[in-house]
Point group: C2
Chain length 329, copies 2
């Protein structure tokens, strides 16, 4: 394992320290652990908190800031943060308007965030939640019952975050977050694995001519392995499954072509070239496109495509000002 690290037991902490040192105007780290909050707490609004295992950078610390999250809680690589840690995050950002937790659908995350919410409620903090499950590849996987939460989560951060910033109520922010979840679908593929530092070896293996279709963001198995295809063919494979899952006909969409970490922008743009052509052909109008690293899997070589079916409310919130390390409007 060749990585730019100082020791497998220091990875998460030094990463969070390095992130906060890069963006001191945006971020502050709590003393109690790997919890990142806005440098300056904003009162009088619903607080948004998200998080999960590390290894998905810039998710979620990179989305903390004006117009998006108030806190991000980072567990060890690919491992849920503890309820205690999440509770510290909730307490640090809670306002009299309450807290919305944006949870990706993994059994550990859901359990630990819910436990933290119960503890917070016992301390008089109002907490609600949404669970993101945008991955159409498989129902149930290594760490999940039901569909997994993947890159579509970032659209939830952006749109619910914008509504919270406007001063909407907890019920309203929860409702728009759920609306995004109901209208976003994602699927990915990978051609090379990543190595969790503490494990020291790749999480899975693929032959030289093989890819994993429907891969999860921790390298969990997808629908199947098959022989490598062209970028256009792979894109079509993923789009077919996404478009079959939700009726996008005649709609406007936000597109996200997300890198799993090691996939160069060159290839992401080649993929987007096909995405744009296919959507145009099908009469689906592209309102905005996002290409880059949004929800990664350390240095996995792969990508995912997310399509969010927009309405006027979501369009407006997507365009609203955001000022975070990883998302600026």
């Amino acid at each position: 394992m060749k990585k730019f690290i100082n020791g497998v037991d220091q990875v998460e902490n030094q990463m969070i320290q390095g992130m906060v040192k890069a963006y001191p105007k945006h971020l502050r780290k709590l003393d109690c652990g790997n919890v990142v909050v806005r440098a300056k707490k904003k009162e009088g609004k619903v607080a948004l908190i998200s998080g999960g295992g590390s290894g998905h950078e810039p998710a979620h610390g990179g989305y903390v800031g004006e117009g998006m999250l108030d806190a991000a809680v980072a567990g060890p690589v690919f491992t849920s943060p503890t309820p205690d840690q999440i509770l510290e995050g909730i307490k640090a950002v809670a306002t009299d308007q309450g807290v919305l937790m944006v949870i990706k659908n993994y059994t550990g995350d859901v359990m630990n965030f819910e436990m933290a919410a119960e503890m917070a409620q016992m301390e008089g903090i109002q907490v609600k939640q949404v669970v993101v499950n945008d991955d159409v590849a498989v129902d149930g996987s290594l760490y999940t019952v039901g569909r997994r939460g993947v890159a579509g989560t970032v659209f939830v951060h952006k749109i619910a975050g914008a509504l919270a910033e406007r001063g909407a109520s907890l019920d309203e922010v929860q409702a728009v977050a759920q609306k995004v979840i109901d209208h976003v679908r994602t699927m990915g593929a990978a051609i090379a694995p990543c190595t969790v530092p503490a494990a020291g070896k790749p999480g899975f293996e693929l032959a030289e001519d093989e890819m994993e279709v429907g891969i999860g963001i921790h390298g969990e198995p997808g629908t199947h392995k098959e022989a490598m295809k062209t970028a256009d063919e792979i894109t079509d494979l993923l789009l077919d499954k996404i478009l079959a899952d939700l009726d996008y006909s005649g709609s406007q969409v936000a597109v996200m072509v997300n890198s799993s970490g090691a996939t160069p922008l060159m290839e992401l743009f080649i993929i987007n070239n096909r995405v744009a052509d296919v959507l145009k052909e099908k009469g689906i109008s592209v309102y905005r496109t996002f290409v880059g690293e949004y929800m990664t899997s350390i240095e996995m070589e792969g990508f995912s495509i997310s399509l969010l079916k927009l309405d006027d409310e979501m369009k407006g919130l997507l365009e609203e000002k955001a000022d975070t390390p990883a998302w600026k409007e």
Copy 2:
């Protein structure tokens, strides 16, 4: 070679198409080839043009837009664009205020950009240039006489672009671009190579415990190979050389920790953690930090550190509004 492409002869064109389709409000592709210009030409200002071989995305097309470049010319992967192609770019964006070319110091780039400038001048267009040579690793390399131009180029785009947007003269914009060049130093290291699609195999080889110190952005040799070290040790190695090359004492700097393409943000932040600590220790104040993919080498696994010694003019221009696909303020 496993890549998300459709054929080695379609890489550059489909990449540029996919980039323009992702950002139609920012970018337009010229019909004559892989030249990207602002979607809406701005008159009455000095036009900035840059470019070079493809494979460094988001450089340079990602920096076309308000407050940065007016045009980016993309050659084949790691190969200079032709003088004809550069001329088309110049002609498309030239205004009565003239054109500034920002060239990275590679023999082919310098020759072809200068040839294009001569042709443009024969057509009555005023063209000046700066040559970026920020890489302190080596003097002369595979494709270069003198120092190579690497990630520091992006600071030139940002700062000279901001001054051009304000309406400064060609001489003034050239002067500030040269000031950035005079005050920025960069050095990198890599632990795994990239594969140029048309070559089909990695550009160099490294043993499992080996790294290349001072690597170039085309995988050209650096100062030496040595055994893999910790992130902190590698960071110190690069910083030592950078800090020995220019007197940064007591100054304010902009820091860029740039990914060569496949290096995960996790590792870049661990590196930045060390950069921030070392600079603090040395009494060098960090004004702004940029961590991410700015000047890549396809999917090379490596990074570079750039330090720009700032004055008040450069600070102001760095903060000025930019709206491009890859850089927003």
